[in-house]
């Protein structure tokens, strides 16, 4: 196929993959090997010097993982990608490439609780200082800018609140400040929303969730949008300055619009080491082939469950951007018109106690700290994932005491609703 931009479902099945050159195997083989034999010392030198394409060692590149990278880059409309061991490893890799000690970045206060922890604690110990802003009040992002700000980080669809972020408005602030916008697109997936089209420069994912989609493999990915000029300001020296370990090579000059992904790989992943297993890459890749089908079913089921809960007498409120009356409905229509995702929260009139009872009462839904599985999942964040946060942070992150989070699977909607019905009837 030549120069006709293939559709999303075609890319989900084919992008990045070709039959195996040795055997013709049609499915992507699992290259479960640590290392690759050199032809001779000259080829080895060319590979180590980044002059030739090819694999040396699976910490840095692997042919199975490369297919996953090519596929997600294509689905997001980026130039290149780097798959790593988890979503958190992806975030670490991005900021390692952008920041030096003493630098600041702005992050939305409506993020996955684990990201709030990562930024508040581990990142601070590296001297990378997060400044929080509120996506419900875009001006807070502008006010948070300082001469030390090097990036802005948001989630397209925030976990757990189901809040849709105004990506283009925040992208405009980032562009004006001459800094990149990083969007965590885990909850929406590129099937529902492509942040690069709205001005994002870098996209990250926890592939652990809807992308892999079957609750069986950890993974993360960094997608380079190819949109940011890393040399212009001189504030991103990993990309714009000669690298001593590569004989003075300059990454942005050499690799152009995929330089960020290369820097995250040959500087970040090389040294930080959070490589994904080729087996996990294979499982996630297989999951991605059905991403469009699964996301349609996830979204349809989630909307049905949200409507059911809205009318339930034990339920105080439902926050699902797909509901017509929801505060984020207009933003959902703009950024993810095909659906509002499968993760949302609702409040129980019975508060904390009722939340704890509900997760104990369900029989088919699984009480787990995960989202984006084929199975429907339930959690009471205040007693689990968001337990470490202060009450104020819990509420800011949409995880107050009465809040229950659902990640609706691809079972039959009637069965999901029947399980919730019996469990809600006994919450007290």
């Amino acid at each position: 196929m030549s120069n006709i931009q293939p559709g999303f479902s075609t890319l989900a099945v084919h992008a990045g993959a070709q039959p195996d050159p040795a055997t013709g195997a049609r499915a992507t083989p699992i290259y479960q090997t640590t290392s690759f034999v050199f032809e001779d010392v000259d080829q080895a030198a060319a590979l180590f010097g980044l002059q030739a394409f090819g694999n040396i060692y699976t910490r840095i590149t692997n042919p199975t993982t490369a297919v996953l990278e090519g596929r997600v880059a294509a689905l997001e409309g980026g130039t290149a990608a780097l798959a790593v061991a988890s979503g958190h490893a992806a975030q670490l890799g991005v900021f390692h490439t952008l920041l030096t000690p003493g630098d600041e970045f702005i992050a939305s206060n409506k993020l996955y609780g684990g990201s709030i922890n990562q930024f508040n604690h581990s990142f601070k110990s590296f001297g990378w200082n997060v400044v929080w802003a509120d996506p419900d009040d875009i001006a807070t992002f502008e006010r948070a800018l300082s001469p030390k700000t090097k990036a802005i980080f948001i989630e397209s669809l925030a976990n757990p609140g189901g809040v849709v972020t105004d990506i283009a408005a925040i992208a405009a602030i980032a562009r004006k400040a001459g800094i990149p916008l990083i969007v965590d697109n885990t909850m929406a997936t590129p099937y529902l929303c492509k942040p690069i089209e709205h001005g994002a420069d870098i996209v990250v994912h926890s592939l652990t969730k809807f992308m892999g989609g079957h609750g069986n493999s950890m993974g993360g990915i960094i997608v380079d949008g190819g949109t940011f000029d890393w040399s212009k300001s001189g504030r991103y020296p990993m990309l714009s300055e000669p690298r001593p370990e590569y004989q003075g090579l300059t990454i942005h000059e050499t690799f152009g619009n995929f330089g960020f992904a290369i820097a995250c790989r040959v500087l970040g992943l090389r040294d930080l080491g959070a490589a994904i297993s080729p087996f996990n890459s294979f499982l996630i890749l297989t999951g991605i082939e059905t991403l469009p089908l699964r996301m349609e079913k996830h979204c349809a089921n989630a909307l049905a469950v949200a409507r059911y809960l809205q009318d339930h007498k034990a339920v105080a409120w439902v926050r699902y951007a797909g509901l017509e009356g929801d505060a984020c409905h207009a933003l959902q229509q703009k950024y993810m018109p095909k659906g509002a995702g499968a993760v949302f929260t609702f409040g129980l009139k019975g508060g904390y106690e009722a939340g704890v009872n509900l997760v104990g009462n369900v029989e088919m839904l699984s009480h787990v700290a995960n989202i984006g599985d084929t199975r429907s999942l339930i959690i009471h964040p205040a007693s689990t994932t968001h337990r470490q946060l202060s009450d104020q942070q819990k509420t800011a992150a949409g995880a107050g005491p009465d809040v229950v989070r659902l990640s609706i699977g691809i079972e039959d909607a009637v069965d999901i609703i029947a399980d919730l019905e019996q469990a809600l009837s006994r919450v007290g």
Binding site: M1, S2, N3, P6, T10, L11, H14, A15, G16, Q18, P19, D20, P21, A22, G24, R26, F36, V37, F38, E39, Q43, A46, G49, Q51, A52, F53, G54, N55, T61, P63, A66, V67, E69, G70, A73, A74, G78, T79, A80, A81, L82, A83, P242, Y246, Q247, G248, L249, T250, E253, T254, G256, F258, A261, I262, R265
Partner: protein
């Protein structure tokens, strides 16, 4: 404006019909992009000739360097321009004075000059602007994906393995 959206088939055909490539502005510095391109094209079986007055008479990557296109003692099939856009017309003039004429004039990523391109095209020469032949070759051969880079190629055909380890080509070659 000249056409600068090139089909994959066109690029494959352009890179498939040349054997001798002169790189104008080739650097002897091993970490410069022009050196990377020279070395890569050599590894793909092309006869690559560096052109750089400052290095004339010396070898770059084992290849004799010439001061100008006119000094090259064998026919040049493709001229790859690694110079700023405003230096392009002079290089194209030189290329058009060659006998036989080159079949392809290629300008690197970020480099384009519509008027010079039109002059070359009027002489029946294929012109590619604002592209890197290393990236295009690696993309079409299937090697670029190893670095996590999107190839924008959808194909159910096997990559064409070449002699050696981890080497794909746009044509089988040994």
């Amino acid at each position: 404006m000249c056409e600068d959206i090139y089909s994959d088939d066109h690029i494959r055909q352009v890179l498939g019909k040349v054997k001798t490539i002169a790189i104008v502005g080739a650097s002897a510095n091993q970490v410069r992009p022009s050196y990377f391109v020279l070395k890569y094209l050599l590894s793909k079986g092309y006869d690559v000739i560096p052109v750089n007055p400052g290095q004339a008479g010396k070898e770059i990557c084992g290849q004799m360097t010439y001061a100008s296109l006119a000094d090259i003692p064998r026919p040049v099939h493709m001229v790859d321009i690694f110079r700023a856009s405003d230096a392009v017309p002079a290089v194209v003039d030189e290329a058009l004075a060659l006998d036989p004429l080159p079949r392809v004039i290629w300008m690197q990523l970020g480099i384009r000059h519509d008027a010079a391109a039109a002059m070359a095209e009027a002489r029946g020469i294929d012109v590619v602007m604002d592209r890197c032949p290393k990236i295009e070759y690696a993309r079409l051969a299937g090697e670029i994906g190893w670095a996590g880079v999107a190839s924008n190629v959808i194909s159910s055909k096997k990559p064409k393995a070449q002699a050696g380890f981890q080497r794909y080509g746009i044509v089988p070659r040994d």
